[in-house]
Amino acid sequence: MAAGANEMKKTNRKYRYGMVIDLDACTGCGACMVACAAENNLAPAPAKVTDRTSITLMRVFQVKEPAPMPARKTAFVPMMCMQCDDPPCEHVCPQQAVELDPRTGIVDQMVQRCFGCRYCMAACPFHARYFNWFDPEWPAGMEQTLNPAVAPRMRGVVEKCDLCHGRFHEAQDRAAMEGSDNITYQPACAEACPAQAIRIGDLNNPDDPIQVQIGKPETFQFLVKLGTKPKMYYQSKHDWVKRLAERDSANGNSNRRDA
């Protein structure tokens, strides 16, 4: 009986996946974006697509230090869904198509349920959500490259990073096969990063190596002041990069286009 109760407790282990991204290591190569698109079956963008209507679940932004030219430094910031613990997108969804999974801490987007009102896109302070403006179309033969673990999305629904849920499923299968309860996996972006700047870990587990990274003084998060409790952490030893995290539009949002 006691063993049974213990068994039950074991199977209900709760994860809180989060990532730490080292901005000083990131070279801005964009391998994470490519790996992400390939993993998640993103269709090639049609010719008419614009910056606003394209889909990049993971996006590397270039930011520049606000200083005169010779001294000006550049950094690259990979941005994706921050998997907030208090996600504004979930609160605004009229269709209950967004759900914070209590077992994984991942903010689930149910594209099958989404009807495309895009409230969540307006609510997300990180611009991590994308709308499918066009039918996904693959050139003949390219459908062979599709990942069977991820269903393609249709036109008219919103999608976002779900921390490579297909890979999570595979890790779950592996763990069930081994009879273990330890579900560890690498999202496509973390696996592809040549600088190993992206690390994933279980924030609920005090022994996870990610806790050491989070405890470092150079670790920060974007827009903490909004209280959405993001689970994505960033690291930089440069103060000007860290200051970006709390920057708002009134105090210069010009770091994307000033050349």
């Binding site: 149910m110 099958q112 849920h165």
Partner: protein, 192 residues
């Protein structure tokens, strides 16, 4: 009064026509490429379900076995049936896969983990697949002409009122069992 009787008779006839006729219009049949006796393999050859429908090392489920699996025993006919002869001559020797039609095939946005249900939750195959492992012939595959899904997803019974516990593989059927066992999976637990 008479008009009411006529009206109700009309309604009854339409309903009856719908219940009887609709499944015939809605579902199309397709014969399996080869007949297969589960009974001969499970009872006579004393094999286990997992002898052919096995897990891979990484925990993924192989599902309906590939030709290699059959060829392991049937490189040459071991019995005398016409079906086996066909298997050896039309498939094993020319190395041509058998295009089985899978009764329990789910839509692509559905994720079902056999590893979690069979290894971890210790469900029996029969819980969802019924007595399929004891059948002597493969019944024709039926699919819904509108959705293209296998008829087994909805279940044989069109009204779904009187059906066996394993019948139907709709999300509702999954949820009934999940609620019963108190197993919470979340949306992306079973969708992808």
């Amino acid at each position: 009064m008479r008009s009411a009787i006529f009206f109700l008779t009309g309604v009854a006839m339409m309903l009856l026509g719908g219940w009887v006729g609709l499944p015939k219009v809605l579902y199309k049949q397709q014969a399996q490429p080869l007949d297969f006796s589960h009974k001969a393999h499970v009872v006579k050859a004393e094999m286990d379900c997992t002898g052919c429908h096995d897990f891979r090392e990484d925990g993924s489920f192989a599902g309906v076995p590939k030709l290699d699996n059959c060829a392991g025993c049937h490189a040459e006919p071991v019995g005398t049936t016409a079906n086996e002869k066909k298997l050896v001559e039309a498939h094993v020797t020319p190395e041509k896969e058998i295009g089985w039609l899978v009764y329990s095939k789910q839509p692509i946005n559905t994720r079902f983990s056999h590893a979690i249900h069979v290894k971890k939750a210790e469900l029996k195959c029969e819980r969802c697949h019924g007595e399929h492992g004891k059948t002597e012939t493969l019944r024709p595959y039926e699919y819904n002409v509108v959705s293209g899904y296998s008829r087994d997803i909805w279940g044989r019974s069109v009204s779904r009122l009187r059906r066996a516990s394993h019948e139907g593989m709709k999300m509702d059927d999954c949820m009934d069992c999940h609620k019963e066992k108190g197993a919470v999976a979340g949306c992306l637990g079973c969708h992808r």
